[in-house]
Subunit: 375 residues, 4 copies
């Protein structure tokens, strides 16, 4: 049985980490096969990647426009496209494929402008197309377990949220990467990793931001945009939060960490120990929940692949997003609707991320003033 | 050789944790002996404590005013008084003893009003009296080691500071303690533990706050004042910080934690693991410095009592403050000046704490607006 | 470009964890494609697995003998077979495929009898065939980094080795699994996980066992064989060691942990934190080496897939074994010899494991007497 | 109220760590006062210590024999003596004081020869004298909590015990300390720290050793006796254990660690995190019990001094031993018998330690043969 789903990729040429991750994740469960791509603006590089992936040369395209057009004309056309290019190009590429009737998986942040993100949503909705945005961390089973614990009221009403995402790579950079350039976007740090905080908290808790106050800074001389942001948040429920994202935090690797403090208990998840969840319930000792060993809610357990003590990592988290997206897409294609409502981040999550970046910028540019999230 | 220094205590009657800690800490090194006290407003309770401490009954006083007056008249008068009463009374008691010529050790926060704290400073200065404020955590050797690492530039210029002090006791309270009452002060959480964050950061880094933005909240119905505060800080150096203190953080015990991120490295100290210091220097693996085992700067090593792997704790940290205060006081009394400049928190640190509380309140009451620290 | 290598699998039918792991690992890098199999003794179950894997029905075989025979006759025959059946059958299956000229990847323990393992070695050598034994843990990059640190003398001469591999599954079992049965082998715990300790230590250190003393026990009523073993080891170098493996260690998941203590430093690697390596060098603070972030020797770094802070896990470790095996096999097939000597566990490692089980049994059955490893 | 109990010390002169610890521990609760001593064989050094401790010069003695004789003649004689000299002298000193009618606190190992230890027991019993042996680690509240959990059957019947006590100081030594010399005892490592393992396990579990097999080694050239020992243990209950003690374990500080695996759960306590206890119960997530925060049995909670999150350390553990000893002694002196049976290590524990050393030596000297513990 060949994989049911065929997909193509835009971006992800040689040396592109995130493209390789998408490709392995999409195919991890033999549900999707990559059959087409436009991996680089340089056709030679694109061809190399195509060969490595075993693609037919006529399905390695010079431009994404050509890819969308020619794939649309094929009998065995791709079902969806994965977009893993620099952020600025997401909008045009996604739009092009949506207009040709392709489902889309797109990396985050979805777009630079909020209006762009909203337009993509309208086009997708109009054409009945699925649109996933790959917020990686929501693919981890213990993040899903945290969400279920919150949903079921185990930690009570949330009082305050502490979330952070420190990295250190800008400190070590010797020349600017595209992310650092003002020509490539409006924000570097908040757009790249702040959105992961915002999504993870939203995903785990369902809390909606009412207002925020962001102090965004640029340290060093290489970065033209923000590389550290300290943010206060107020949620509509009355809860509060503190978000910190940084690309100049010496000694940090990729340290997304979330702590939720509720009236009945608290939760902690740390990306450096993704297989664990710390749960403290009022009047009880701290519990260390281990993925695959300890009882998990079905919504989370469904994403376990290996038993306890057999570490899963980032590839598997990513594969979980593709697995959920794929299950809904298969159900859509075969008319059964079997995977409808599957658990993966969707275009609304993508829009939320763009709004979060905009609001942080609005606050920071106003002298770190409080800005309302109300429309 | 009897201990050189004689002291008395105001507060600290039966069941008072902090009084007992002060008493053990002061006498830990046989440098000070307790000889007088007014331990409670209830003379019977005070007498019990006096007997337990082996005091002569005529030096267990009914009121602190009487104590100050009668001790002042004795040949073998106390050299200093330790004040461990509820915060609101610190000012009057300290003033009374200073005016009688006694050196003072006072718990934090120093006073309720900034003007009170500043007045105490003037009186102490005028009379050449020492005044220690017991910010416990600056007594830990690894906190001192962190300070020395920063001073020597090991982590470069500080970019951002992450500090927190979560507790959970308010969640478990069944009736209000005095700290929760508006009649006892202006702030509960920031005044009680927020000041420890402010002092620890100031002590470790020397950074001066330029402005801050505080979101102070009250959760639950028992507390009349703040029990959670999320605070953004800007320092005069251009560095930024986030401070979080909470008394409603389920699962937290007494979790002061400080992380400093600089241009060349980062540092982490956590009160739950007080014997360790995490040090990450650019381009090098994370190092875990162990008190008593690894090389320490003399200013920190001087406070080591036990070799590595033999845990020291809170009593010893507290004793370090009394040891430094005692060494300066002995040098003052014998005219040698030998302990001048010893490393313990002084009245200026106490004043800073009161100002920190005031500024947080000013910000919070103004809708979490940014307030300047400038005079 | 299709994957160069074609392989088939014996065992690994529906619900078989280890078969699925092998299959994902072998194909993870698009170097191998599965094209044939005999996944179960039940043809219907085997067919289901074949369909899921997209195999041509005529290459899903009823017996492994048929598979070996028919594959041998094909133009597009498999290059190698992966054997993932219960231990007792490894010998016959491996022998059958070797005799037909197929390279072999076989799970551990290689065989039940030492003579069987040695015979397989002779056959493979005679026919110029590669033979990998999947000691999973040697696939982790930080295990390889540990090996390189030892090789380069960073921790000096090894004084003592502490190694353990506790699990708890037997405590939770409600009926016997095949591993527990005397009809399936001579040892349960040592054969299943003790061999991982022996291999990991041998791989990391190169130490050769001179003699050992094993206390093997059976706890509970379900297991017919050992489920806990406490073992003292003396190496030919004069170093000593303690190995503990258990399947009745409550709270343990899959806790392989290795500590090496040398004259100049010590190393620690724990499978629950596979991305870290603790390194303590004389006179220096403890270092926590993080995969992908900190400097690694080329022999280890070559196996990194993701940057620091992006967790890799068991699938990737397993894939590293297949990648090394595949690189040597490709070089053999294309005549370049390019991957010769690649870093993966070979038949000699498999033989060592069987000898280790035999020696432990000999010791335990003699009243936990010391037994020599000398031939 | 002056402390009820008066004591003297033999050993513990300037620079002697353990003497200072005993002295602070004994006086920590104001229950005992030091009033006499023979701190060094050098009278000048002894006098310095005496002055520092505020002793009357006529109670600082030149020899312990003189001290025993003269104290026995005083009205205000000491109630007990603390013996903190090198091991070899414990026997003669303890005997001398017992024969004069003094209660004794003695450091471990109690004596060099088993017959000596047994003789001390007979003398103490004959004279109705208390005799404590300071196995430090049994003073930690969480060690006591572990004991209570085992007693109450929380982890079921013990299957296997993993215990270790690694240090590294011998690796760093530049000249021999007395402990390393054959003239000072029969064992270095097992006698100094191995006995702590044996006592802690005995204390926590009540398990009695049936037989053991010890591989004792000497690494490096400075030590004349053992500095590393790997030991297999069989208990009379059928449980097994592995003990490892080392003074050549690079990177280790003072790492006593105990893990108990039972049929219903497991426990772990580590001296580097003395405030925590890891408890894993069948079918439940791992729990991290925090001293002072989580529910503790009364037998353990009675020894808590500070609330949760306020670290206690080694001084306090030591003080707990003196507190229990003191409570029994007070009850004996005042005739109330109020502290009878208090929880502190007694002479039988001391005897057990000496036997443990003897049995390890017997095994090691017989080629690491199994030796029976039966009389």
């Amino acid at each position: 049985m060949e994989p049911v789903l065929r997909f193509g990729m835009v971006g992800g040429g040689e040396g592109a980490l995130i493209g390789d991750i998408h490709c392995r994740a999409a195919t991890f469960d033999r549900r999707s096969a990559i059959v087409a791509g436009c991996f680089s603006r340089d056709p030679a590089k694109s061809a190399v990647t195509g060969r490595k992936l075993g693609l037919s040369p006529d399905r390695v395209y010079a431009t994404y426009e050509e890819m969308a057009e020619k794939e649309a004309a094929r009998e065995d056309r791709i079902h969806y496209v994965s977009i893993v290019t620099p952020n600025k190009s997401h909008y045009e590429i996604a739009k092009t494929f949506l207009l040709r009737g392709f489902h889309v998986v797109c990396d985050k942040p979805l777009t630079i402008e909020l209006s762009e993100a909203e337009e993509l949503k309208r086009i997708a909705a109009r054409n009945g197309l699925l649109f996933a945005v790959t917020y990686t961390y929501s693919g981890y089973p213990m993040v899903k377990q945290a969400r279920e614990l919150v949903r079921r009221g185990e930690i009570g009403d949330i009082i305050t949220v502490m979330a952070e995402y420190p990295q250190e790579w800008v400190l070590n950079a010797v020349k600017p990467s595209w992310r650092m350039l003002a020509s490539e976007g409006k924000s570097c740090c908040v757009a790249d990793i702040g959105v992961h905080i915002a999504h993870t908290i939203s995903y785990m808790t369902g809390l909606a931001i009412e207002s925020l106050c962001a102090d965004m800074q640029t340290h060093g001389t290489l970065t033209e945009l923000d590389n550290n942001a300290n943010i206060l948040v107020k949620y509509t429920s009355g809860a509060t939060g503190m978000y910190w994202c940084s690309q100049v935090a010496a000694g940090s690797k990729n340290g997304l960490k979330v702590r939720l403090f509720g009236t009945k208990g608290s939760l902690e998840w740390h990306h450096e120990r993704p297989e664990e969840l710390l749960l403290s319930l009022k009047g009880k000792p701290l519990q260390l929940l281990a993925r695959g060993r300890d009882a998990m809610y079905p919504e989370a357990a469904a994403f376990n692949r290996l038993p306890g003590g057999h570490p899963e990592g980032l590839y598997e988290a990513f594969a979980n997003i593709y697995a959920a997206f794929g299950s809904e897409l298969e159900g859509l294609l075969d008319g059964s609707g079997s995977g409808a409502g599957a658990d993966y981040p969707r275009i609304d999550d993508g829009i939320d991320g763009v709004r979060f970046v905009d609001k942080c910028l609005e606050s920071a540019q106003g002298g770190s003033k409080w800005v309302s999230y109300a429309p």
